[in-house]
């Protein structure tokens, strides 16, 4: 086969790749070296001034990054535990199995922004039904959205509710694809359900679990809509995450050049940290 023909076949894919991935990244890097903002709307060149500002004079970005790390790790761990438990439940032969499978998937099928508006109404401190219900039980109103610590957990509750079904779906698919032999062998050996889970199910599910956790971590690290609608990053900056902060700098304050710097730095950090996390998880969960 003529070598040049290969390029002809590769070209459409390559073109798409350059168009939707490489060009935006290169453009972002170039933008990050400019001072584009509302009063100088041009792609001027200011060198690494924005990067110096980020690394020496912007604690808010780093605070938002560590807050994001806390929120995403916590939510994904909870989603994994709950999702695994639910998947195990409907994996077995229980009554109304199909019904439960559909029910558990409903949160994921809803629109996140709309559901967050509904959650915000639930958690409204003076008008929402949650505090009304608690009041009926004699519990004082809880500041779901106004207390800097509780607001973080409110965000976690909404995120876990919304995205646990995704974890459930992946883990259930994994459970359904497991070979039957190891379970038969464990049954013949008289293993208890607990030992069966620890020594058979969990190790067999490890590769799927790692995949599911990484996918969810990638998604959770972009958390934006929930924070935007539920708390707007408040109270103060208590629930501000990296993506929300980048949005504020770029599309609220119109510091496009600086927002590009934040975005690119954030991308690099995420690629490095997710690679490390994947390696660590593989080492911890997959025994050779």
């Amino acid at each position: 086969m003529n070598f040049k023909h290969k390029f002809v076949f590769l070209f459409p894919g390559l073109f798409v790749l350059i168009g939707i991935l490489i060009f935006p990244i290169i453009f972002t890097i170039r933008l990050s070296l400019s001072g584009w903002n509302s009063y100088t709307p041009e792609m001027n060149f200011i060198g690494i001034t924005n990067y110096i500002r980020l690394f020496t004079d912007d604690p808010r970005f780093w605070e938002s990054f560590f807050r994001l790390s806390f929120l995403s790790v916590t939510t994904v761990i909870l989603q994994y535990i709950i999702g695994f438990a639910l998947a195990m439940m409907v994996w077995r032969d229980i009554k109304f199995k199909r019904f439960f499978r559909v029910i558990f998937l409903i949160p994921m099928m809803t629109t996140p922004v709309i559901m967050t508006v509904i959650w915000r109404t639930f958690f409204h401190e003076s008008l929402g039904p949650v505090n009304d219900l608690l009041g009926g039980l004699g519990v004082k109103p809880i500041l779901w959205l106004s207390d800097p610590v509780i607001a973080k957990f409110t965000v976690i509750i909404v995120e876990v509710w919304q995205w646990t079904p995704f974890m459930f779906l992946l883990l259930l698919a994994g459970l359904l694809s497991l070979p039957k032999e190891p379970f038969l062998a464990a049954a013949i050996d008289g293993a208890s359900p607990f030992r069966k889970f620890v020594y058979v199910t969990f190790p067999l599910m490890a590769p799927i679990s790692i995949g599911a956790i990484i996918i969810r971590l990638i998604e959770a690290s972009k958390i934006m809509d929930t924070v935007f609608v539920l708390t707007s990053g408040g109270p103060g900056t208590a629930t501000e995450t990296s993506s929300f902060y980048i949005y504020i700098k770029g599309l609220r304050e119109f510091q496009m050049g600086y927002a590009a710097t934040l975005s690119f730095t954030y991308l690099v950090i995420m690629i490095i940290s997710l690679t490390i996390i994947a390696k660590v998880l593989t080492k911890l969960m997959i025994k050779e």
């Binding site: 509302s38 003076s126 103060g236 304050e253 119109f254």
Partner: protein, 511 residues
Amino acid sequence: MKTIKTCVTALISALLVFSPVAYADKWSDQFPHIKNTGDIPGECSYEAMSKKNYKGKTLKINTHAVPVMGEPTALHAEQFAKLTGAKVDVTHTPAGDLYAKAMVPFQAGQAPYDIVFGFSNFINDWRRYLEPVPKKYVEMKQMQDVTPSHIGVASWDGVMYQFPVDGDRHYLKYRKDVIDNPEYQKKYKADTGKELKVPTTWKEYGEMAAYFNGWDWDGDGELEYGSAEVMKKDDLMYAAFYSRSAAYSKNPKTPGGFFFDLETMTPLINNPGFVEALTDWVAATKYVPPGGINFGLGDEIGSFGGGQTLFSFSWDDAFVAAMQPDSPINNQVGAAQLPGATKVWNRKTNSWDEGFNQAPFFVWGWAVGVAKKSKEHEMAFDYLCFFANEANHQADIGIGRFGVNPFRDADFQADVWTQIGWDKDIAQSYVDTLAQMEKSKNRVFPLRVPGTFEFNAALATAAAKALAGQLSPQAALDEAAKQWNDILNRVGKDNVRKAYAVGVAMEDNKQ
């Protein structure tokens, strides 16, 4: 013959005499929004617009979310479409995104919207992308009634870029049925040793709000609270903070800047005056309704307008909402100027000047312009002119949720408000409050400089941190001042000074 002549004359006379009525009815039948006044003749009246033909043309508008400003935009768009045959597409955008939604295409040289709504303090960043209002609109009758301060708001260097549709200022709203109640006055005196009256200082405001917080003082079976305020970051909370700061920091003895010292361009927002105001505001988190720290403008309107709090201060909307016939506190509210302070910071002597000080804050409000790159300038200005025509304006200002507030001399007449069901004394106190603010010589105007959005966002973030207990008031404002210096360095001190001087001249009564 004589009889026929008489009949014809009588018929013609009757037609002439009653034609305005018939004319008014004709339009109010089709458009019930103006049922109280009917159409009012003018260059942009319903009658005048019905003679325009924009069939086959499309007008694209970006406005605020419903209801505040978004609802009247959509309503008048529908009416305009019916009258002129134009197709009008209205896009609704949250307040925090209005700036960027226009700026992104502006900077890219595009015009996806013919008309863009925003806040009047965007004028400095937006004006180079906006088409100046044509002379024929500037000189028309309906524009002659706009107050000089609102003509100034809409203009830069004498050129009008924004079409006046709204006029805003912050003032105090209070529950008349509580403050004027002799029983509560007696009880308050007995419990605190102080008089219960319309608060004239922020300290009095705080004391009364704290006293009336968390109990059912209007007997409706629900708990009521002290105050509803806009405390949510990114939801105009910076304006609420400036309102609270003005009394402590706008010293008539030290002209030359409220936000910056115009000579040195040193940010003043971390001086003891502002710190005192933020300290008061942090204390206010104890007397707002549960969740009040996250109240945006809509929440504030709903809370005070719905009878949940004793006080509120911000734009007219909450007051007008409270005065609507369907409000549970209709005709039970009062208006007064923003509270003052018993001391004001003097930045020249670096000490407090003792004595009463009060400074109204003119939060100019909604603004709207036509994109320079739009291909439908005439239709766009006709729409805006129609939006603000006298019949629409009179109907709009009586609906709290619309966010359309007085900006014409005619609006400052009590009769305008009694006609829509307000008690005479309330209407009078309302127009007197607005008029006094117009006359004040110690006013504060919003920051209208390059990078306004950055300055206000930095301030709002710092203030929000203090309200949430993340930083002390002094530390929060020091952080904001540092950021203001950084922004100044990025934008250029001289650029900011040049623009700021325009506002300072107005504050110092030199314009």
